[in-house]
C-alpha cells in the first residue's frame, strides 16, 4: 500500500502517454466515447433543428436543466466531499453531516442578518461547524476509537438531537438567505438557445450567483486535490486513509489529523448550508435530504474518494434536474435507480478502490 503515492505520481507524469496507449488498446470504446462527447457538445452549443425540438422539447429546457444540474452538483460536492473525507480517514459514516449542513445554513443566515455581509457569513458558518466538529471528535468519537459501527450509531443519535434542537431555535419555517446585490440577476452565456425567424440569435441567460458558486465549488475541489497531493498534511491524510495504524506507528499525530479533517469536513458542510440557503432555502427536513444526497453521491462515486465525490455529485445533480424536466413523477427516484445500478455492477462505486 505504501507505494501508492509514488505510483500515482508516476502516473501523473506519464498521463499523456497513458491516454494514447488506452486509445490504442480500446479503439472501439474510444470511438464511442468520442462520438458521445461530440454529440453532447453539439447538443449544448448548437441550436436544435425543429424536428429534434419536437421530440425532445425546447432547447432552453434542456440547457436550463443541464446548468441547474451542474450547479446543484457543485452544491452536492461541497456537502459530500467533507463526508467522504471524514469516512476515508476515520472509517465511520457521519450521519450527523446533514445536521452540520443545516446548522451552517442557520448560522450563516444569522450572520447575514447581523452583519449584512454574505461573504462574511461563510466564515461564520465554517467556524461554527468546525467548532462543533472538533467537539464531537474530541468529546465523543475519540472515546470509541476503532468501533466504527458504534461511532456511526452515535452520529445518528446526535443528528436526532441536533435536528430537534434546531427546530426549537429556528422553528419549522423555511428560511431563504438573500443573494448579495453584486451577484443578483442573470448573466449572459455563450450558449445559443434558439435562432429567431428574423435571424436573431438568442443566448442563454443564467443566474449569476449559481455560476459563481459553482466556480467556487470547482476551486475548492481543485484546492482540496492539490492540498491532498502536494502538501505534507495531504500526504499524511492519504497515508492515513491507506493505513492509519501504520501512520500512527511511524510517529505521526493521527488524533490531531482526525480533528483537523473532521473540522474541515464539518466546516465545508456548514458553508454548503449557506449555498443551499441561497440557491433554494433551508428548513426542517433539509438535514436528512442532504444527508441522503451525500450518501447517494458517495455510494455512486466511491466512498472515501474526492474525485469520486465530484463525479457522483455531478451525476446525481444532473439526474435530479433532468428528472424534473423529463420524468416529472419520478425525479427523486431516478437518483436512487442510478445508485442501485452502480451498486449492482460496481459495489465499491465508480471511482472507489476495491
Amino acid at each position: 500500500m505504501a507505494t501508492t503515492y509514488s505510483d500515482e505520481e508516476i502516473k501523473g507524469v506519464k498521463r499523456g502517454d497513458a491516454l494514447g496507449r488506452w486509445i490504442g488498446r480500446h479503439p472501439i470504446a474510444a470511438l464511442v466515447i468520442a462520438v458521445v462527447v461530440i454529440f453532447a457538445l453539439w447538443l449544448v452549443l448548437a441550436p436544435w433543428p425543429a424536428g429534434f425540438e419536437n421530440i425532445f422539447g425546447k432547447k432552453w429546457l434542456f440547457v436550463n436543466a443541464l446548468f441547474n444540474g451542474i450547479t446543484l452538483g457543485g452544491l452536492y460536492f461541497l456537502v459530500a466531499s467533507g463526508f467522504t473525507l471524514i469516512f476515508g480517514l476515520m472509517r465511520y459514516v457521519n450521519l450527523a453531516h446533514g445536521s452540520l449542513y443545516l446548522f451552517g445554513g442557520y448560522m450563516g443566515y444569522e450572520a447575514t442578518q447581523w452583519t449584512g455581509s454574505w461573504l462574511f457569513s461563510f466564515v461564520v458558518a465554517f467556524a461554527c461547524c468546525a467548532v462543533v466538529g472538533v467537539a464531537m471528535q474530541v468529546l465523543i468519537f475519540r472515546r470509541m476509537e476503532g468501533e466504527d459501527l458504534r461511532q456511526t450509531m452515535v452520529t445518528l443519535g446526535l443528528s436526532i438531537i441536533f435536528s430537534d434542537l434546531m427546530v426549537w431555535v429556528w422553528g419549522g419555517d423555511a428560511i431563504q438567505i438573500d443573494t448579495p446585490d453584486q451577484l443578483l440577476g442573470p448573466m449572459p452565456t455563450p450558449i445559443i438557445v434558439s435562432v429567431k425567424s428574423s435571424g436573431e440569435v438568442v443566448f442563454l441567460q443564467y443566474a449569476r450567483v449559481r455560476l459563481v458558486i459553482f466556480a467556487a465549488a470547482v476551486l475548492i475541489g481543485v484546492g482540496m486535490w492539490l492540498a491532498l497531493h502536494r502538501t505534507r498534511i495531504g500526504v499524511m491524510i492519504r497515508a492515513g486513509v491507506d493505513d492509519r495504524d501504520m501512520l500512527s506507528v511511524l510517529g505521526y499525530r493521527v488524533q490531531l489529523l482526525f480533528v483537523v479533517v473532521f473540522a474541515f469536513g464539518a466546516g465545508l458542510a456548514g458553508m454548503a448550508g449557506i449555498v443551499g440557503g441561497t440557491f433554494q432555502s433551508i428548513s426542517l427536513g433539509e438535514d436528512s435530504n442532504f444527508l441522503l444526497a451525500s450518501l447517494v453521491v458517495v455510494i455512486v462515486g466511491g466512498l472515501g474518494s474526492i474525485p469520486g465525490a465530484a463525479l457522483g455529485a455531478l451525476i446525481i445533480g444532473l439526474s435530479e434536474q433532468f428528472g424534473v424536466v423529463y420524468f416529472q413523477n419520478y425525479s427523486t427516484v431516478l437518483a436512487f435507480v442510478i445508485m442501485v445500478i452502480v451498486l449492482a455492477i460496481r459495489p465499491q462505486g465508480l471511482l472507489g478502490r476495491g
Partner: protein, 356 residues
Amino acid sequence: MALLQTTDTSALGAQGLQGNGALSRWASQHAAILILGLLLVILPAAAGEFILVQVVGWSLILGMIALSLMFLAGYGGMVSLAQMTVAGVAGYMIAVFGTSSLPAISLFWPWWVAAPIAIAIAVAFGTLAGALSARTEGIYTIMITLALASAFFYLTLQNWPIFNGFNGFTTIPAPHFLGVNWKAPVPLYYMILFFAALSYAAVVYISRTPFGLALQGVRDNPRRMEAIGYNVTAHRIAAYAFAALIAAIGGILLVWQNNQISPFSVGVNVVINILIIAVIGGLSHPIGPFIGAIIYVILRTFALDSLVAVGLDGRRFQTLIGLGFLVIVLFSPDGVIGLWRRWSARALSSRSSNNR
C-alpha cells in the same frame, strides 16, 4: 465454531431429556420469558382497548420489525435499515391486493390471497435489497439500506397509480375468518401476540440451527468461514430473506392495527426509529427488540404529558429519544439487556459473597 456447536448441542440435549429435573431446569432458565408470556396472554382481562392495541399491540408489532433487524445485526452482523421498508412493502401490497377505501386501486381480493401475495412480494424485495448489500460490509450496509429505504419513501410519495402518492391508503380492516372478527380489539391483540411469539420462537430456533450457527460464524469472521467452505454471500442473503418474512408479517399487522398506510409510515424517521428500538433493547438477544419497542411506545405515548409535568417543553420528545439512544450507545452497547445482565451478574456475585 466447534465450541459453539458443542455447547449448543448439550443445551439442546438438556431440553430434549424427558423427566421432571430437566423440565424444571428449563422452566427456571426461562422463567422470565414464561411469566412475561403468561402476563401477555391474560392481559385482555385487565387492560382497556387503548392499552391493548395502541400500547402493547403496537409495541409487539414494532418489536417484530425490530426483531428482524436484530436477527440480521445480532446474528449476521448486518445492520440493515431497510427492514421497516420491507414491512412497508407488505403493508402497501395488502392495501393494493386486499381491501381499502380506494376502489380505483385496490383489487379487493380475499385476505387469504392478498396476504400471501403481499408477504411474497415483500420477501422478494427484502431478499433483493439483501443481495445488493450483502456484498458489502459494516457501515456500507447501513448506508446502502438507508438509501434504499429513502428511495422507497420517495417512490411512494411520487407514485400515484399504485401507491396513491402523498395520501396512501386508509380503511384497511383486518379480515373476518373462523367466525371471528379480527378487527375487534381483543382478537386483533391475540393475533398480534400469536405472530410476535411465533417470530420470537422462530428466531430463537433458527439461531441454534446449523444455518444460524454458520451465520454467526460469518458475522465473526467472514474470511475464515469462506475458507472453511461456507458460501458467505448465500448465508447473508438467506438471512435477509428470513428477516424479510418476519418484517413482512409485522408490516401487514401494522396496517391492520393502524387501519392506514402512507409514505410517512415508511419515512426516514420511522426507518431510523426501528434501529433505535433494536439498539435500545439490545442486539444480543431476540427479546431485546421487544423491550426496546415497549420503552419507545411508552415514551412516545406518555412523554408529552410527563415532560410537561416536570416543567419541560413536551415538544422536545425527539431530544429525549435521541439522548436515551446516545446514552445507551455510549455506556451500554448491549442496550437494556446488557444493563440487565450486568446488574444481575453483580447481584449474583454480591449474594454469593454474602453467603460466603
